[in-house]
């Protein structure tokens, strides 16, 4: 072969020869979304807003994404007349040799239970209580402001949630006594206080503050007293998903680093301030995690091979592939057998069995919180 290889100069010239103008739709989309996206707001909140206010064409596009994704990961799509949604059931795939070794193509039903879900109806975003068959038990909140990010107390009697208008930069945490149907405001500071979660003993709440100069993860007693910051999130990295460890002495959260550009699951020991990355292989991203009800196991999205949902022990050991999805985990059933997942850009929540990866449609909505069994 007499072909002359390109010189380094040719390579450099080629690398430097990039498009000079960006598509107009980038700025149009970004500037169009600014009014619905508060600064220091979270990406998850933005996605929730997009999903819950999306128009029919967007929903159809979301379904197309699911179809493509499911095809890519070897999931068969069936029509489920019972729930009127897309019902994926996993097919054998080389990418998931262990977890999907006994795939089930038959529809199945999750056990009875109740799940709090955020829905936007007629432009009003509130929290609804659903049965696991997707039927609505009742609307838990009814306020002109948006109600989001519900999380249950360990005994299932209380629901902490965020109420407010992110556009105006004012969101506070409230707690709902589900039986008594009474709501109490827990935080009153200016700025955004959101994503509250009860400690395993129900006495404290960890939450996120997005308000300069108070950015950080804070804790308070369950009645709203004794508020104090336990971690400062100011900086170029972003931090989300603060969740209590089983012993109540530490919190877990996601750390998105811009260098080396990945997401980690970390454990912060509150007393000492020590931070340890869990299940870290030095290169993969571990994101969107949930902790099992007994606090012993993480489920999370990992950028490993194969991609999908992984499990690991609470100390970060024994990282193992679990299921392909669809989507990442958002909630865990009390018995630890089922995850609720949601594909990106999809309004649909799914139940996924961990033992065989079989998935069924649950409902439309976001931020599911499975009510603990009393």
């Amino acid at each position: 072969m007499n072909h002359e290889y390109p010189t380094d100069h040719t390579i450099e010239s080629w690398v430097a020869d990039l498009p000079g103008r960006a598509p107009d739709r980038i700025l149009q989309t970004v500037l169009g979304e600014l009014p619905t996206l508060s600064q220091q707001g979270r990406l998850r909140a933005r996605l929730r807003r997009i999903l819950m206010t999306t128009s029919l064409p967007m929903k159809l596009a979301g379904a197309a994404v699911i179809t493509v994704a499911a095809t890519a990961i070897g999931v068969n799509l069936l029509r489920s007349p019972g729930v009127g949604g897309v019902l994926p059931s996993p097919a054998p795939t080389a990418a998931a040799p262990e977890a999907s070794s006994h795939p089930s193509s038959a529809p199945w039903a999750p056990p009875a239970g109740e799940i709090a879900v955020v829905r936007t109806v007629d432009g009003n975003t509130d929290i609804y209580l659903l049965k696991t068959d997707g039927s609505v038990v009742r609307r838990l909140t009814d306020d002109r402001a948006d109600d989001r990010a519900p999380h249950w107390s360990p005994d299932g009697s209380l629901l902490v949630f965020a109420r407010g208008n992110e556009d105006e930069g004012q969101v506070d945490l409230y707690v709902l006594d589900v039986a008594g149907r009474t709501v109490k405001q827990l935080t009153t500071a200016s700025g955004i206080e959101t994503d509250g979660r009860f400690s395993p003993d129900g006495t404290r709440i960890v939450y996120e503050v997005q308000s300069v100069p108070n950015n950080g993860f804070w804790t308070m007693n369950a009645d709203g007293s004794n508020q104090r910051r336990v971690f400062d999130t100011t900086g170029s990295d972003s931090f989300t998903n603060a969740t209590w460890a089983a012993d109540g002495a530490a919190i877990y959260f996601n750390r998105d680093t811009t260098g080396p550009q990945r997401t980690q699951i970390v454990r912060l020991t509150i007393a000492s301030g020590e931070i340890v990355a869990l299940g870290d292989d030095g290169g993969s991203s571990n994101s969107q995690f949930v902790v099992s009800a007994d606090g012993a196991t993480f489920a999370f999205v990992a950028s490993r091979n194969p991609s999908g949902i992984y499990l690991m022990n609470a100390d970060g050991s024994d990282v193992r592939f679990a299921v392909l999805g669809p989507g990442g985990p958002l909630a865990w059933s009390p018995d630890g057998a089922i995850l609720i997942t949601q594909p990106k850009k999809s309004p649909t929540l799914y139940f996924v069995q961990l033992d065989d990866g079989a998935a069924v449609v649950f409902s439309e909505g976001s931020s599911p919180a499975w009510r603990p069994e009393p």
Partner: protein
């Protein structure tokens, strides 16, 4: 520029719109250089600008706005590359014709370089684009990406070596499934 950044930090959407308009073309070129796909590059830039708006109040040094934006664009491009990887794994590329032996054909060279570049990791592509397109030196790249200078140097070194090696390999007929981020 710094005045606009300061205004945008305080929530001034018009100021941010001006900043975004000033940076979007460059950010798009960077993302395109990493992803080599116009739609994916547009998605990455869109995400980077939304992240910029969201995280702008936490930017302490407004003089570093440009580098900070580049980092967000690179980071969003990495995420875009990772997000699509699983889909790409199942896509087989039809066998292509062997590279043309016409040494004078710049078109063939460009096609050859395109194929070779796609075989680099997103991290290697990012350093190459920042060096050859943005004109940043290795120290500036290291600061922008928050990586050690030695890492920036080695990524650029391996990127060039990878391109040369891939081009050599590309002289052979392509018959296997192409796997890329």
């Amino acid at each position: 520029m710094q005045d606009l950044v300061a205004l945008a930090q305080e929530g001034d959407r018009d100021a941010f719109a001006a900043l975004a308009a000033a940076k979007v073309d460059t950010l798009y070129a960077v993302a395109f250089g990493i992803l080599r796909d116009p739609e994916r590059a547009a998605d990455a830039v869109q995400q980077a600008l939304l992240n910029a708006w969201r995280q702008l109040p936490s930017l302490r040094d407004t003089t570093r706005f440009d580098g900070w934006c580049y980092r967000l664009a690179v980071s969003a491009s990495y995420e875009e590359a990772r997000r699509r990887r699983i889909w790409k794994l199942n896509i087989s590329v039809l066998p292509t014709e062997p590279a043309t032996p016409d040494a004078e054909s710049s078109l063939a060279d460009r096609d050859q370089l395109e194929r070779a570049f796609r075989r680099l990791s997103p991290e290697q592509r990012a350093v190459a684009v920042m060096h050859y397109y943005l004109g940043l030196d290795l120290i500036e790249i290291a600061e922008t990406l928050a990586i050690p200078p030695g890492t920036a140097r080695s990524r650029l070194h391996y990127a060039l070596n990878g391109l040369r090696a891939a081009i050599v390999a590309d002289q052979q007929p392509v018959t296997s499934t192409e796997r890329m981020a």
